[in-house]
């Protein structure tokens, strides 16, 4: 995604916490940019050497729920595997179903310049919308 002229994501201001507004021409790009946005709050992604691979499959009742579940699953995996993920590829992605491969590296304080822990993804302000010829997704994190 580097070198892309289009903005991948931006931060949403929130008194107590923080949110991410991600953009994408396609749903895959949206989900990928959102994941990158989230992990960039946790570490400098340039420092990550992708080694570890994890496959995940998610189902949800709708697109927004899938978007939420995607973030929740990434946070959960990251916490449990103590890994920062930086590459995301999709084998399938529809409004209710997702199959993705994550690549990343186990957290290393010296190497990765770790930043902050994200406690949870909230339901507040959850949004996925088609705008023009692309997609915009918003989530707020509990920090």
């Amino acid at each position: 995604m580097t070198g892309s002229i289009v903005k991948a994501y931006e931060l949403i201001d929130h008194t107590a916490d923080m949110g991410i507004r991600a953009f994408g021409k396609t749903l895959q790009e949206l989900f990928r940019n959102a994941a990158i946005g989230m992990f960039e709050q946790m570490a400098d992604l340039e420092t990550i050497t992708s080694k570890k691979i994890k496959n995940i499959v998610l189902d949800a009742v709708g697109l927004e729920e899938l978007y939420l579940a995607w973030h929740q699953e990434l946070l959960f995996r990251s916490a449990v595997d103590r890994t920062i993920y930086n590459e995301f590829s999709f084998n399938a992605l529809s409004e209710k179903h997702l199959e993705a491969s994550l690549r990343g590296e186990p957290m290393n304080f010296e190497k990765h310049n770790l930043k902050k822990e994200i406690k949870a993804v909230t339901y507040h302000g959850l949004k996925v919308q088609k705008k023009g010829d692309g997609w915009v997704g918003e989530v707020i994190f509990d920090i």
Partner: protein, 995 residues
Amino acid sequence: MKEPWQGPLEKIDDYRWRIPKSYKRGMRVDGLVYADERLLKDIKLDNALEQVANVAFLPGIQKYSIGMPDIHWGYGFCVGGVCATDPEEGGVISPGGVGYDINCLDSMSYVMNHHGFFQKIGEMEKSWEGAELKCQDFERARETSATPIRYLKLRPSKPVYRLKTQGGNEIVATADHPFWTPDGMVSLEKLGINDQVALYPFMGVPYESPSDDVIVSEPDIRKLFEKLGKETGGHALTQTLRHLHKLGLLPLRYNSQQVPSLLKILGYQIGDGTLHFVNKTGKGISWFYGKADDLEQIRSDIQRIGFTPSRVYRRERFHQIKTSYDDCEFSTEETSFKVCGSGFAVLLMALGAPAGNKTTQNYDVPSWIFKAPLWQQRLFLAAFFGAELSKPKTFEKHNHNFYMPMLSMNKKGDFVKNGRDFLSSISYLLAEFGVKTHTIGIREEYKNKKGVVSYRLRLVLSGETESLLNLWGKIGFEYNQMRRTLANAAVQYLKLKEKCAGMRKEFVVNSLRLQQAGVPRADIFDQLGASVNQRFIERSLYEGRKTEPRVGQDFPTFDEYLIEVVVGSGTSGMIWDRIASIKPVDPPEYVYDFTVDHPDHNFIANGFVVSNCGVRLLRTRLTKEEILPKQKEIVAQLFRDVPCGLGRGGEIKFSQQEERKILVEGSPYVVKKGFGRPQDPNHTEAGGCLEGADPGAVSDRAYERGKGQVGTLGSGNHFIEVQVVDESYDPSLSQFFGLERDQVTIMIHSGSRGLGYQVCEDYLRQLAGCPDKYGILLPDRQLLCAPVKSPEGKAYLSAMRAAANYAWANRQVLTYLVRQAFVRVFRRGENDLGLDLIYDVAHNIAKMETYEIDGHKKTLCVHRKGATRAFPPGHPELPADYRQVGQPVLIPGDMGRNSYLLVGRQGSMEETFGSSCHGAGRVMSRAQAIRISKGRLIHKELEEKGIIAMARGRTGLAEEQPEAYKDVNDVVRVVDKAGISKRVVRMKPIGVIKG
């Protein structure tokens, strides 16, 4: 600059503000906010006050929704919010006429049919099979219909009672007859005066067998085809006739089983439907417009008759209209469906539906309807009203009185006379139900380009109570669930209002009688009770009333009443009423029954995001003078020894089995394992362990995520601070806690870590459907909740208790690590250094606690979302050594300013459910904090203030910089001045570690 909050805030005194419950329809109690003018300015900048108001919607909430001076915006709940809900609130309920559960009733009990007529249960012995009864789907909190599978006629084996509700409904039933109450089904013998029961106030009309006169026959259809110009000899007519015959619709008689549905469809169609033929003679198409839910009911009736409706379409419509004030543009979502096919269209036309533009043709209420029995006329009117009649609504200013219902229609040019005739026919039908109407108003609306004038005709219905009761109680609404529920509530409201006014009228008569008998005024007041005020008596006795007495100002407004009584999410049609009396009656010869099912009910709220964090304070025997030479060393040691920040697991490992024990046993368990002193749990809120924690309610994912995190600090606003006492407010209390100026203390702020976050995430998902399921009306979907007594509520409480226990154990292990670090740096024995635990309080928790409300002891579910328990001296839950002085309340500030030790005061028991504030409260977003710190070195700035700060995360210090928070000194001054807690000492940080 953000727009400050604009809602109403009434000043009570310098530190208390009220958000009146009149602010938003649905608030059950006032909001009470503790703040001074200065804090209020900041508080108004985010949405926290709106959230205080939203919390006031929660069912069972007591006294007020409380905001502490450190409130800021949270998810659903504001952070810094306190509220208490009563699981028992609402007591029992009523069923009166609710048709869903009719076990063991007197033979005279009326059973409400799905089609809006009633029959006596005793007379249904031969006709019950196939009867379609109104019933309630509790799961979905909406009305539906059901066919009885069993009819029982029994000799009563139990005592029989007559139950009357305050609204005047009554029913005779056996002692074991169950009634739907806020606690689920409760048998009559367990109900008492003032308990709530569910009613279905709609009365309907009595059943009357319809005749077998023909309404539509084959020649009628043939004639219609001719009139339409359709070719009569060919295929279309034959096909249509064959279809209608096949569906059993030709001939159609008053007693045909399809007539009730057809009457409703026809009524709605004349209101909000259109009908036309493609190219005038082609296929017939009928459209129906309305709310999606209501349209589904019409679709289902159309399917019942044998036709196939389309699905419900949604489309956004843009409108541009010119009014005399302005040009407006707006968009609405329109939902509609259609039925394609000439059979259906022709049948409707034969029944009297107009085809084409309704404003430019003559049509009247179909004449055959006048010959139908009353209950059939009702179906037509109620469905027509579902489309066209204004909803029950009270005046804005005088909220006790209803607007006169209104029926409007548009007609063009010469057709206005026909419009008048149509409305007159409706008037005529209404008269049979005892509904009075006023004259028909006609107003010129606009002229089109061809000069044709459009008129708006309005039939105004009487606003007299009796007429309204007949309109809403006997006719009501079909195909409009919202209006039907409003009508049901309005019926019950009018009855209560009449009763109340009647009592006051009686009072006037009695007071005059007593006055004439020479009884002094004060005694009159005593004798007649306090249901009226002094002014009322004076008017009655001395001024000669010109008008009938009306209900007093304290009688609830209709809007308030609605919130109290509507059962479910607003479409069930059920209303809560209270029992006025239950009296035994002589048992009748027989009692009767059908069957029913029942879930349970009642409310607890807990829609908040928890990580159960809290604070603990340790006292050392060190002084500022002793620690300053080792200031950097001790901070570095703590930073090394205490795992903090992202991705750092604990050094101390617990097996999975041990982790489960931690969830059940809390901090005493880890103390037992050697991570503390035996007296530590005694100085921990709830002894560091909440009973009723269920490790089984915690998901595998939560275990997995929390694994290895006991004894880790986390990140965000969690920290360990080394502090020195810099101000004492009460010498004797300071002395009691062994704290004097310059003495060193340590504060630990952390929570239940990954396990807690996951528990929260899991339950937010699980509770997502609960507000709908339990019919809880909420202004914000973040404010999720479930009844305390519901399975979901219970499971959440058990899991949350487990997470709270985990949090206490976590802070206990952190305490152990801190003590070790101090021993290492100072090379002195632990006891020699002091390092005693003063106290540990949770500030993100829901707990069952007992309070006195209006003279009654109640066990309430107290929610402290970013608020600290603050029990006053003498509270039985305090450890013996603190009972004299009150519970220590620990308030961490931001890392550049101060922290506080306070003690709880009596005011907290009286006003805030034993709660106080919890910290400073953010005023700035993290992103903004990072932006304003660009180019600055926060740790250098802190060092200049004499504070050594170390943080793992690169942005942690910037995000948590002092400027991002309110001044904790202001916050604490408010709770002190308001009398809910009392300042003891203030501390200033000299060392901070953060994640």
